[in-house]
């Protein structure tokens, strides 16, 4: 494998667990351990542990941190309390999505942004280019390991390893002082699977210890290590977008169904003018979910047809292991964007009938009280 690929601190642990490693965004990452379907089902019914240490972490610290964050992203960072996080696109002046990120408010003048591995270098350059002397921008990717522990049993397993009452951490909130088996971590109730669960940020030196401890603690309950393959099928069932597949700099948040993350009222931000104009003039295409007849998979780039004319393109597709259907995302004209619209996907020269479907494809059952 390419020697220039980066490895997370868990590389050896993945090999020991029998992972199949693949190059991903410049990193050598586990795509699966046992089977994508088994790992997917483990996350839906029990819990799965993902190494996502390839994600980038960047600190914005200083008097100008809030203003910088507000200018860079479309969502309203000023509304965050300490200990709260949000999801947001970061756009070009033309309104195209440079990346989608999580912004954590650590303190009044301290934010941590979490960025996609494939975009880390570009994001950093963009952020630094807009930072004034009153903000210090620090890339902490190499110091920080990130584990995603996702699934209905995640809280109960993790709780046995920490005295901090995890139930007190609500969705999109975090605590930066959570000892897990004695190692200090930052734990947020966030994820990319559609299940309840946590993302655990820790110093690189503690990654192996935490990984082993969580898997060991969860073994009796069927917790499995899970790879990027399952991560993709899980996120797609949950209707989450993947930057580089479903959106990029040629796509605006309004087109991508992320209008809820664009807060025009918060004041000026990069891309606001272009997005305001697009909103006024009309959105030319919309990202929608679709389901297909049969089990063939619509893959990235396949044409979307209506009456044998190409009207759009698939951006992601898979066979959803939990919904047991062929599902996907793609761009269509606004007139075809409503759930129930009939389309077809061209798969190997055949038109496979499909129907535009409300996202997400999968919603977990709400937790029962008590």
């Amino acid at each position: 494998m390419d020697e220039t690929l980066r490895r997370t601190p868990l590389y050896a642990a993945h090999l020991a667990a029998g992972a199949r490693m693949v190059p991903f965004a410049g990193w050598e990452m586990p795509v699966q351990y046992s089977s994508i379907l088994d790992e997917h089902r483990a996350v839906r019914t029990r819990a799965g542990l993902f190494d996502v240490s390839h994600m980038g972490e960047v600190d914005l610290i200083g008097r100008g941190a809030l203003d910088l964050a507000q200018r860079l992203v479309t969502n309203d960072v000023a509304r965050l309390a300490h200990g709260q996080a949000l999801y947001t696109p970061m756009c070009t002046p033309e309104g195209g999505i440079i990346d989608d990120l999580l912004v954590y408010r650590m303190a009044d003048a301290h934010f941590m942004v979490v960025i996609n591995a494939a975009n880390t270098a570009e994001d950093l350059a963009w952020i630094r280019a807009h930072a004034g002397p009153d903000v210090r921008v620090t890339d902490r990717t190499d110091e920080v390991a990130l584990l995603a522990f996702q699934g209905p049993r995640a809280q109960e397993v993790l709780q046995r390893l920490t005295p901090v009452p995890l139930a007190s951490i609500k969705y999109y909130w975090f605590r930066a002082d959570v000892p897990v088996t004695g190692r200090t971590t930052m734990v947020s109730r966030t994820g990319y699977t559609g299940e309840d669960g946590f993302e655990i940020y820790a110093p690189v030196r503690d990654a192996v210890h935490l990984w082993d401890a969580i898997l060991e603690e969860g073994r009796a309950q069927g917790v499995l290590p899970a790879g990027l393959g399952a991560r993709d099928t899980l996120r797609l069932e949950a209707g989450f977008l993947l930057h580089g597949n479903d959106m990029d700099k040629t796509v605006t948040p309004l087109e991508a169904g992320l209008a809820w993350t664009v807060k025009f009222a918060k004041g000026e931000f990069i891309g606001a003018e272009a997005l305001r104009q697009q909103k006024a003039e009309g959105i030319p295409r919309r990202l929608v979910g679709f389901t297909l007849e049969g089990r063939a998979i619509a893959r990235h780039g396949f044409p979307i047809h209506q009456n044998h004319a190409t009207v759009g393109q698939v951006t992601s597709g898979t066979f959803g292991p939990t919904v047991e259907e062929s599902i996907g995302l793609g761009f269509v004209p606004p007139r075809l964007a409503d759930p129930g619209e009939q389309v077809a996907i061209e798969i190997r020269t055949r038109d496979i009938p499909g129907v535009v479907t409300k996202l997400p494809f999968y919603t977990r059952e709400p937790k029962r009280a008590g």
Binding site: Q32, I36, L37, D232, T233, R295, A296, I297, F319, S326
Partner: protein
Amino acid sequence: MSREGLVYPKELRYSKEHEWAKVEGRRVRVGITKFAADRLSDVVYVELPQVGAEVSFMQPFGVVESVKAVSDLYAPVSGKVVDVNRTLAEKPEVINVDPYGDAWMIVIEPRNLSELDRLLDATAYAAFVGEGTS
């Protein structure tokens, strides 16, 4: 018993596209190898021809799709399709479990059995996929 004897049964012939062929009297049963099934992993869809279709030596006769990838299936011998494993449409995951048994794909009535001589035996196939004597 050697490992390749388990993974690549001696009585089968193998194509470099990872199909196996098993002579059953005047017919040839076809599937994909354990190597291919493992590589694909998590097969979720199979597209097979109809009974009566004609297939040609090392030309595509169908498609197998996993979560990760899609691959063509190549006919290890020319002839007429006389049987198709319909259970794979509903249970394609069998391909990952029992590639030489329940996951057979089609049965061909060959036009020219000597085409099979151009396929690999188990030892040669194991070496081809890098699981030889090393």
